[in-house]
């Protein structure tokens, strides 16, 4: 049997160059009630100016604070995954564009956090140079993470220190350190070793410093004149390498990518393409793809999610952890390993199952994670019907058609559902009328209030189609003794069950364009605005032409001139792209 990795690499190669023609998609979303608030993407009839995309667009240079996962991946990639890191970087707040990662370009590093980072740096540096303990089965990290042996363990050795500082510093700073920088750090290592009478302790002191250095913690876009566009600028080779790497790998560039930056190869179209293919064929791409979907699907909420054990006795921390993992595994397998149509992610019956989840899905359990396909007569189809989506967008003790409908529109269609008016009375939702048994009946009563009706009619017809799944994502056919009516509609398309909703979402023109918008913004580290419109139109066409294949979209994004071009920050705030009927 082919390994997952082998299949993934083959699929990436097979579809590498199939997306060169573009079709135009015009998307019109007509939704009553809150239409004025909602956004969606619409592309116009424009032809791409070049095969790789518009040449006169670019992104604004930014200084992004490394995310917790990026920091963790960096340490694992540079020093190995057995180095304990802790949680020195807190989670970000979600940006208005729906992504956490774009907030990284605006957050600061408060004093308390710097102290936490310093403590983490101390711990990491100590582990990197530790001499191990055979009795405690602790490895001697210094024996393979420090590329030389000092002349004596209890005294400075500038040559050996320089070797470590050059090689490790290059990976952490994501560029070669110049001689003056190396000399400065070597000097500190010398002082430390002399003072502490320990070569490795001196080295650890330097590593501690590097790990809180703003040039390590912040991914800063540095620029240079663009020879192809006189008078304009582009990312320099190192910044381009970092941007590629944090996008595709969610981590720092490795030696090969840095070499392509050092030689300047990465700045040529052919060179960049070679580097991109190499990066896409690396196992690290799994980190990148999973990080993107974790962010887009708002899975950070799992970190504080819990269900009411009295209502859902099968739901536990292990189930919720596995629910998150199930969907990320499914997405990676479907989109990258099998290179399938992105839209089919919402209808596929193929997934993975763990023993903890098997009890919630009521299917036979096998040890560990195993591929699993829901049978054709199963109500489960696509990731909308996974426990992850259903449980995440519910209350602790009951389902919520409104939260589910809102989440679908906001996370998957890039629409904005306005918050309720501050003074609205929701009491009808808890109408004590004993005749109201189901969520549909309660919400119908709530919608009798015209103030509520406007927005609820854009969320509830979607969410009510998922009512066959309770707040923990378990299948049910009735609520309060009444058979559940799971009919609904999505922007004019009616259906009678969750599978129908999945198909309607699959066919929704906003589904792929939303992904393009999110993924491009994620890649360049900022919210898309009106100036990005030509680039998004180009990417939408390419995505459609490729049959909605994610590897092709990743290529189209990173090979496009806009990915490396620099645009001046707009003089005045540019409104976010309005993508609905305006």
């Amino acid at each position: 049997m082919q390994s997952v990795e082998t299949r993934r690499i083959r699929s990436l190669g097979r579809f590498g160059g199939l997306f060169w023609t573009g079709l135009t998609t015009a998307l019109v979303l007509g939704i009553a009630g809150c239409a004025n608030y909602m956004t969606d993407q619409r592309s116009a009839d424009t032809q791409p100016a070049a095969d790789l995309g518009p040449v006169d667009v670019g992104s604004v240079p930014r200084a992004r604070f490394m995310t917790a996962q990026q920091y963790s991946n960096m340490i694992a990639d540079v020093f190995g995954s057995d180095i304990q890191i802790g949680t020195p970087i807190p989670p970000l707040m979600r940006a208005p564009d729906g992504l956490l990662s774009t907030t990284a370009g605006s957050v600061g590093i408060p004093g308390g956090q710097l102290m936490q980072l310093q403590r983490a740096a101390t711990s990491i540096a100590t582990q990197v140079v530790d001499k191990g303990d055979i009795g405690k089965e602790l490895p001697a990290h210094r024996s393979y993470l420090v590329p030389c042996k000092p002349k004596a363990d209890n005294a400075p050795d500038d040559a050996c220190a320089a070797k470590f500082i050059r090689s490790t510093g290059r990976l952490l700073f994501r560029r070669s350190l110049d001689d003056a920088q190396v000399a400065d750090w070597v000097g500190k290592a010398h002082q430390g070793a002399e003072h502490l009478k320990d070569f490795y302790a001196g080295l650890a002191g330097v590593l501690e410093g590097m790990l809180i250095d703003p040039m390590v913690l912040m991914v800063v876009d540095t620029t240079e004149p663009d020879p192809a566009r006189p008078g304009q600028r582009r990312l320099d080779a190192y910044s381009l390498a970092s941007r590629l790497s944090f996008f595709l790998w969610n981590s720092v560039p490795n030696d090969a990518v840095l070499k392509a930056a050092e030689s300047g190869e990465i700045q040529t179209p052919a060179g960049r393409a070679r580097v991109v293919e190499m990066m896409l064929s690396s196992p690290r791409v799994e980190h990148g793809v999973r990080a993107f979907f974790d962010d887009m699907l708002a899975y950070d909420k799992f970190d504080s999610l819990a269900k009411d054990g009295m209502v859902y006795s099968r739901e536990s921390g292990a189930v919720l952890k596995d629910a998150r993992e199930q969907t990320l595994r499914t997405a990676y397998d479907h989109l990258i390993v099998r290179n399938r149509d992105y839209r089919d992610l919402f209808t596929t019956r193929d997934t993975f199952m763990s023993p903890a989840l098997a009890s919630v899905y009521n299917v036979p359990a096998v040890p560990g994670w195993a591929p699993y396909a829901f049978p054709e007569d199963s109500p489960r189809a696509g990731i909308l019907n996974h426990v992850s989506f259903l449980a995440l967008h519910s209350h602790p003790g009951r389902s919520s058609p409104t939260l589910r409908g809102k989440a679908l529109r906001e996370t998957l269609l890039c629409q904005v559902v306005p918050p309720p008016p501050p003074n609205v009375d929701f009491s009808a939702v808890e109408d004590p009328d004993a005749n109201l048994h189901t969520a549909r009946e309660r919400l119908t009563a709530h919608r009798a209030n015209p103030v509520c009706a406007g927005c609820h009619k854009i969320t509830d017809p979607i969410g009510l189609a998922m009512e066959n799944f309770d707040g923990a994502g378990q299948y049910r056919t009735s609520e309060g003794g009444v058979t559940i009516d799971a009919s609904g509609s999505l922007d004019g398309k009616a259906f009678n069950n969750p599978q129908g909703l999945a198909q309607a979402l699959h066919d929704h023109p906003g589904l792929p364009t939303c992904l393009v918008k999110r993924m491009y913004g994620y890649g360049v580290g900022g919210m898309t605005t009106a100036v990005d419109k030509p680039q998004l139109e180009y990417l939408n066409k390419r995505f459609e032409a490729s049959g909605y294949r994610i590897p092709d979209l990743l290529r189209a994004i990173v090979l496009s001139p806009a990915f490396g071009n620099v645009a001046e920050p707009p003089a005045a705030p540019v409104p976010a792209i309005k993508t609905a009927a305006q």
Binding site: P61, R62, A63, P90, P91, M93, P96, T103, S106, V107, G108, I109, P110, G111, G112, Q113, L114, M115, Q116, Q118, R119, D184, K188, Q191, G192, H195, L196, A201, G202, G205, V206, G209, D213, P214, M215, V220, T222, D303, S304, L305, A306, D308, G309, M310, V311, G317, H395, P396, G397, P420, P422, N423, V424, D425, F426, S427, V429, E430, P432, P569
Partner: protein
């Protein structure tokens, strides 16, 4: 010739040498009157904040009587043991002026920063705890500590700047490690042995500072401000390292606490209470051991999501969906959730009041400020907000009072607290929230 201070002596003796401190332990804490430390320095002032979500049930919360000896209606009946150690403030307003009413955000942001926020993602500026920490938190190991009983680090009401958030610690175990882990120096230890690594750390920080300076020349104006902030914090980190070279003052009430247990994720009210109490006990010792003088504690976030097993709605959802009981005149389950929070407030205040310090208690030398996001959460009202305070700030604040604010700005309490703690500002807040009027009723 320069005076030889203890700091100079200790620095000279640095290099891992043990330094014996000659004072007998039990007599060395305070002066003979119990009003100052043995060194002659006054007992330090401390400032804490406490926050809860979703306001109150007005009809069973607001006492009829103002001033001392106020009555304790049903929802706050549990305040009886701490009534005379705290003040209750009702009928204070937050004014949004032309800004939108951002549900569950506008109210607390105004009370903590003095200004109405324009959107959910950006706060107007530094919050009151940060301002106070700059005044009284500069000499401790931690200028400020921030914790949340919800377990989610994002549940914080502390900002250094518009986008620089002081995330909260959500794990008592992690807080314990930060406070009482390897770098902890027991102020009452007989011998003092600073870590020899500290000087190496300090030396390396100079290279880091150079990189920060270099970076400032490479970025645009907005990013420059962020890196400047980093640079300032780096300076503070250096000062922290300096302080670790000094023998700390002995602290009478300081006892290293027990290792707290690892807790499950979740916001069930019992779990939140357990987390809250573990955090409270750690904060008490953080203050008693002078590891910090400023702290923030969140019981429930503004959109309080606390749950009760067997009840299908979290607190926030209940606040909107539960009808007012026509007989009771309030929302019974919403009040149930609020009461659980108020019980924790009692635990919080009593925990500081139980610790002896000098002639009084730790609480006597503290000021704790508690606020919420809404008055009547069902309709997101920010008029008639309730607030609490506890402690008398070394005798400068009267306690045991119920003050009716008469619709004046809620920022008056924050302003009064800052002035009491020595922050020298002529006024605080912007537009309608601007005030230069302290709440005189509570001033001694």
């Amino acid at each position: 010739m320069k005076k030889i201070t203890r700091r100079r002596v200790l620095r000279g003796m640095f290099n891992g040498t043990a330094v014996a401190v000659g004072l007998p332990l039990l007599n060395c804490f305070l002066n003979d009157n119990g009003t100052a430390l043995a060194s002659g320095a006054p007992i330090p002032q401390r400032f804490g904040t406490w926050s809860w979500g979703l306001g109150m049930s007005k009809s069973i919360f607001v006492p009829k009587k103002t001033g001392p000896g106020f009555d304790l209606p049903e929802e706050i009946a549990m305040f009886a043991p701490i009534r005379d150690k705290m003040n209750l403030y009702t009928n204070y307003n937050a004014f949004r002026d032309a800004a939108p009413n951002l549900c569950h955000t506008t109210g607390w942001v105004i009370l903590r920063s003095g200004s109405a926020p324009l959107n959910q993602n950006s706060k107007p500026g530094e919050t009151i705890d940060v301002t106070v920490a700059k005044k009284i938190g500069t000499t401790t190991r931690f200028p400020m500590l921030t914790v949340t009983a919800t377990g989610d680090p994002r549940d914080t009401q502390s900002y250094e700047s518009a986008t620089s958030v002081n995330n909260a610690e959500g794990s008592p175990l992690a807080l314990y490690s930060s406070l009482f882990g390897a770098d902890y120096q027991d102020p009452n230890a007989k011998d003092f042995k600073p870590s020899p690594n500290i000087l190496v750390r300090k030396s390396v920080l100079s290279s880091v500072s150079e990189d920060a300076k270099k970076l400032m020349t490479q970025v645009g104006a907005e990013d420059k401000a962020r890196i400047e902030q980093y640079f300032t914090n780096l300076r503070e980190l250096e000062r922290q390292l300096d302080r670790q070279l000094e023998k700390p003052e002995p602290r009478e009430a300081c006892v290293k606490p027990k290792l707290p247990p690892e807790l499950a994720t979740g916001v069930d009210f019992q779990l939140v209470a357990q987390r809250h109490r573990l955090f409270t006990d750690l904060l008490v010792m953080a203050v008693a051991c002078d590891q910090t003088r400023v702290f923030n504690a969140t019981y429930s976030k503004s959109f309080s999501s606390t749950t009760k097993a067997g009840y299908e709605k979290p607190h926030h959802t209940a606040s909107h969906e539960e009808p007012l009981d026509p007989k009771l005149g309030y929302q019974p389950m919403v009040s149930w959730f609020l009461r659980r929070g108020f019980e924790e407030w009692v635990y919080f205040v009593e925990a500081f009041a139980k610790v002896k310090e000098g002639d009084g208690t730790l609480l006597d030398n503290m000021l704790i400020y508690a606020s919420t996001d809404q008055s009547f959460a069902k309709i997101h009202s920010i008029d008639g907000l309730p607030m609490f305070s506890a402690g008398s700030a070394g005798g400068r604040i009267k306690t045991g009072l119920h003050i009716d604010g008469g619709g004046t700005p809620g920022t008056r309490l924050g302003y009064t607290m800052m002035k009491t703690l020595g922050v020298d500002i002529p006024s605080w807040g912007t537009q309608s929230n601007n005030t230069s009027k302290e709440i005189s009723e509570i001033l001694v």
